[in-house]
């Protein structure tokens, strides 16, 4: 029986296409990774393995610029992730644990609006907004713009987690004379934690990755890592860019892996 259903589900060529899909997704990244270890000033010819471009990234003439950009990126990403996760947690509580209210569908639409408006349009609108109120463009303007588009990314895993927790737990806590605050802090919050952590990490990555919106709302001279890389590429791809790319790849990989395992742990103890 299992065999027949296996055969019915099977389609010729689908396995091969799936493998091709993985090759397409990974080949460019892996090739850049390999060439970042190339012991040659040219990006074309392979001359053996070395860490020379990583040394260039950390100690070379451009290292100060990239270090400053990395620090900016990290500060913005941490603050944007903390703020958007807090806002998303509060919103998820009200949307999922609260009574139905007028405008609930509209609120849901509003929270997801940053996902629906194309990035380039958000970038233009935000730039026009800051320019028209005379808001100084720098780290703070980038941070505010990032908080907006991080909210839906933080909201989705938190809301999904909260929907999976039956509301009897808070009810029991309340019946045992816990205040609403205690019921939340001591009972619900620990159960929501995997979703919140997952949302935080996604918001963090999304903020760290953003180029288009940052490029529009950043002031002259303020760079994040992606805008600094973009500026450097405009003068041609150099091997140190490939080293930076490989480092960022590794960072994304680690963060996504952590988020993945947190959500799996979360699903197990449900």
């Amino acid at each position: 029986m299992a065999n027949t259903s296996e055969r019915i589900r099977w389609y010729p060529g689908f396995r091969e296409i799936a493998l091709i899909c993985l090759v397409i997704l990974y080949a460019p990244l892996i090739i850049v990774m390999i060439y970042s270890f190339n012991n040659s000033p040219s990006i074309t010819i392979w001359k053996g393995f070395s860490f020379v471009w990583y040394e260039e990234v950390f100690f070379g003439p451009e290292s100060a610029k990239f270090k400053q950009a990395t620090v900016n990126s990290l500060i913005i990403a941490v603050l944007a992730a903390i703020t958007s996760t807090t806002i998303a947690t509060a919103s998820a509580l009200a949307m999922i644990r609260g009574r139905r209210f007028r405008g609930q569908a509209m609120t849901f639409g509003l929270i997801n609006l940053p996902l629906m408006v194309p990035e380039i349009v958000t970038a233009v609108a935000t730039l026009i907004f800051f320019a028209s109120i005379g808001f100084d463009r720098g780290i703070l303007s980038i941070l505010l713009a990032h908080i907006v588009f991080c909210i839906p990314f933080a909201y989705l895993p938190i809301a999904a987690r909260l929907q999976g927790i039956a509301n009897v737990y808070e009810q029991v806590a309340r019946d045992l004379y816990a205040t609403p605050g205690q019921a939340f802090r001591l009972v619900l919050l620990p159960m929501m934690l995997p979703g919140i952590l997952s949302g935080f990490l996604l918001a963090f990555i999304i903020s760290l990755d953003d180029f288009i919106i940052t490029n529009f709302v950043k002031g002259a001279g303020v760079e994040t890592l992606p805008t600094a890389i973009f500026g450097a590429i405009k003068q041609g791809i150099k091997p140190n860019i490939m080293a930076i790319s490989t480092l960022m790849l590794a960072a994304s990989f680690i963060l996504v892996s952590i988020s993945y395992f947190i959500s799996r742990i979360g699903n197990h103890d449900r």
Binding site: I31, G98, V124, T126, I128, N167, P180, M248
Partner: protein, 313 residues
């Protein structure tokens, strides 16, 4: 005391009390404020800007003008005194962006659907591993992915080097700075966006339907096109929208892979704010037209979904 009794009785009535009772609006206030002030108001302001007069130092003069939309749709000659004829430059850029987004969507579907189907029919353990593999590139910086593609398809990049040394071609194939390169870039950028929603749909698909079809002598492919694909249509449409919309407004792929000649909507907009052109009202008008097109597409999508929910189950 009265409060406690009141709440206990509510619980026994079955009317739920909740720890957020009476605090819903306070909890939602930050989200309303942030998104309202930093996205809704800016979009309205952008609409206003598109009807203002260009300040040549960048920015606008607060004077009503239809100049931006006029410039988009009509050609009045070099000095603006000839009778208006249709201006095809910008409509052409929109049309080409539309076609490229469409092709990106089709290619993503052709690779993404079989991949999603294959993953959804694995055993649970290997399924989550495959899913993990497809998800990773989704979270890798788009700029870095686009640069990697640029590196790969350069005239003296690895692909050309291998083809040359393998004796398959005699001189490098010029791929970079063409529309073909943009096409590859869009396909590569948004492929994971197609796989994930289709996967989510197929995972919920009841394969007993496929078995029933096979019992009734339906061939494999008839089952695929008449049973499987119609059942997972919501996932397919969601995937198509997730590829099409960002492709239409893409900036990195046309800018890094298409070079200076091959404009798409994203590069046209960027030019007005960051580049040479510096025409803010025109940039706002182009963004507004793009946003309107996308809102129409999303509206059709929402209506189709509502109809399906009403008619279906």
């Amino acid at each position: 005391m009265a409060g406690i009794i009141n709440q206990t009785s509510k619980t026994t009535d079955g009317a739920q009390t909740s720890i957020v009772d009476g605090k819903q609006h306070i909890l939602l206030l930050p989200a309303w404020l942030i998104i309202g002030v930093l996205l809704v108001i800016p979009v309205i302001l952008m609409l206003v800007y598109s009807f203002l007069t260009q300040d040549f130092r960048g920015g606008v003069i607060w004077e009503f003008s239809l100049e931006a939309y006029d410039q988009f749709f009509f050609d009045r000659g070099l000095f603006g005194d000839e009778p208006p004829s249709i201006e095809w430059t910008y409509i052409g850029i929109f049309w080409r962006s539309f076609l490229q987004a469409l092709f990106a969507m089709i290619f993503c579907f052709l690779i993404g659907f079989p991949t999603a189907y294959f993953i959804a029919t694995r055993a649970p353990q290997s399924r989550s591993f495959w899913l993990f593999l497809v998800t990773i590139p989704y979270w890798v910086n788009l700029l870095i992915r686009t640069v990697s593609m640029k590196f790969l398809i350069r005239d003296n990049g690895p692909i050309n080097t291998w083809l040359l040394s393998g004796g398959i071609i005699d001189e490098p194939i010029s791929m970079i700075n063409t529309n073909f390169a943009i096409q590859i870039g869009l396909f590569y950028s948004y492929l994971p966006f197609m796989v994930l929603p289709i996967y989510a749909s197929i995972e919920r698909y009841n394969f007993a339907l496929s078995e029933a079809a096979a019992d009734l002598y339906s061939s494999r492919w008839v089952t695929l096109f008449k049973i499987v694909i119609p059942s997972v249509k919501p996932g397919i449409i969601a995937g198509c929208i997730l590829v099409f919309i960002p492709s239409l407004g893409a900036f990195l792929a046309p800018d890094l892979l298409g070079g200076a000649k091959n404009f798409m909507i994203g590069s046209l907009v960027e030019e007005q704010f960051k580049g040479q052109a510096g025409d803010w009202p025109f940039g706002a008008a182009v963004s507004m037209i793009l946003l309107s097109i996308i809102m129409v597409i999303l509206l059709f999508y929402a209506r189709a979904q509502i109809r399906q929910n009403d008619g279906g189950h």
